[in-house]
Subunit: 145 residues, 2 copies
DNA sequence: TTTATTATTGAAAAAGATTATCATTATCAG
DNA sequence: CTGATAATGATAATCTTTTTCAATAATAAA
């Protein structure tokens, strides 16, 4: 999705959901929607402050919470931290994350449902969700090292 | 692996690695090695205190850190928390975790290497690691609800 | 066994990250 | 414009994890 399209979608969703469009909130929306990298609250705070100088870190936390609740962003879990956020995928996709710079991309994987059904049957679990994530070094970071 | 076999293996590995075998450390080893569930430091602390009453929470953190460094336990990441530890699998396997009770089991999945190679090629990432985790309700928790 | 070395311990404090409180401000419907 | 109130940012409070440090206990050497 185009960045402008994404920010438009997010602001509209916020508005439709009864949330107000404030300068602080929009600065966080812009930063996250435009980022190719998973950002933690402090990252997002430092970037968004360039657009909204008075911004408080607490507002970043609150905005991320709302965006997640609306399904617009997802929290990214990685070996070195679990507090970063990324624009949500369209449809369910899997993630590949750069362990150097947190650049993340979605990919459409194999259909895991046969596997999930098999494991569910063999172990007796009722499966609710799954994660498939790859970790590695992105092309850009490979060059810079 | 049998629990006794596992604790023997862990204590031996600790010793061979130059670590001392203390009552506090062994109580944590016993608790984690015997647990079917992923335990966070506080869980492990409360259980291990039954065997070693004077135990301090800090020692649990330190012991888990060493066990992880030796590859004997792994840190489990889940939507509701990323600080729990589980006995490591023998060989690389994937995880299925109960979102109610943290019971976790390993399973041998499909070979993901073809997928990983494809994604690596398409996105230009040099892949280092991957996670495949399923989340659901274990048989026991299903009965109790 | 006894002793010396030093890794380990637990308590307390510190640091970091996240959440709650609250008076002030700003958005938006009317 | 104006009023209702959602949202803000500063501060404080929580919670988790790490650091510090003197006392203790495990191990190797005598």
């Amino acid at each position: 999705m185009e960045i402008n399209e994404r920010t438009a979608h997010w602001t509209q969703t916020l508005q439709v959901s009864g949330y107000r469009l404030t300068a602080a909130r929009l600065s966080v929306v812009n930063v996250i929607a435009a980022s190719q990298k998973a950002l933690n609250p402090m990252d997002a705070y430092l970037l968004a402050r360039q657009e909204c100088p008075g911004l408080g870190l607490v507002t970043v936390y609150r905005t991320l919470e709302k965006l997640e609740e609306l399904g617009l962003v997802v929290r990214v879990h990685a070996p070195d931290g679990c507090g970063a956020y990324l624009s949500a995928a369209e449809g369910h996709e899997h993630l590949i994350i750069c362990t150097h710079c947190q650049r993340a991309e979605y990919f459409a994987g194999d259909d895991l449902h046969p596997l999930m059904d098999r494991v569910a049957a063999e172990h007796g679990y009722q499966i609710q969700d799954h994660w498939l994530q790859l970790f590695g070094i992105c092309p850009e970071c490979r060059e810079n090292s």
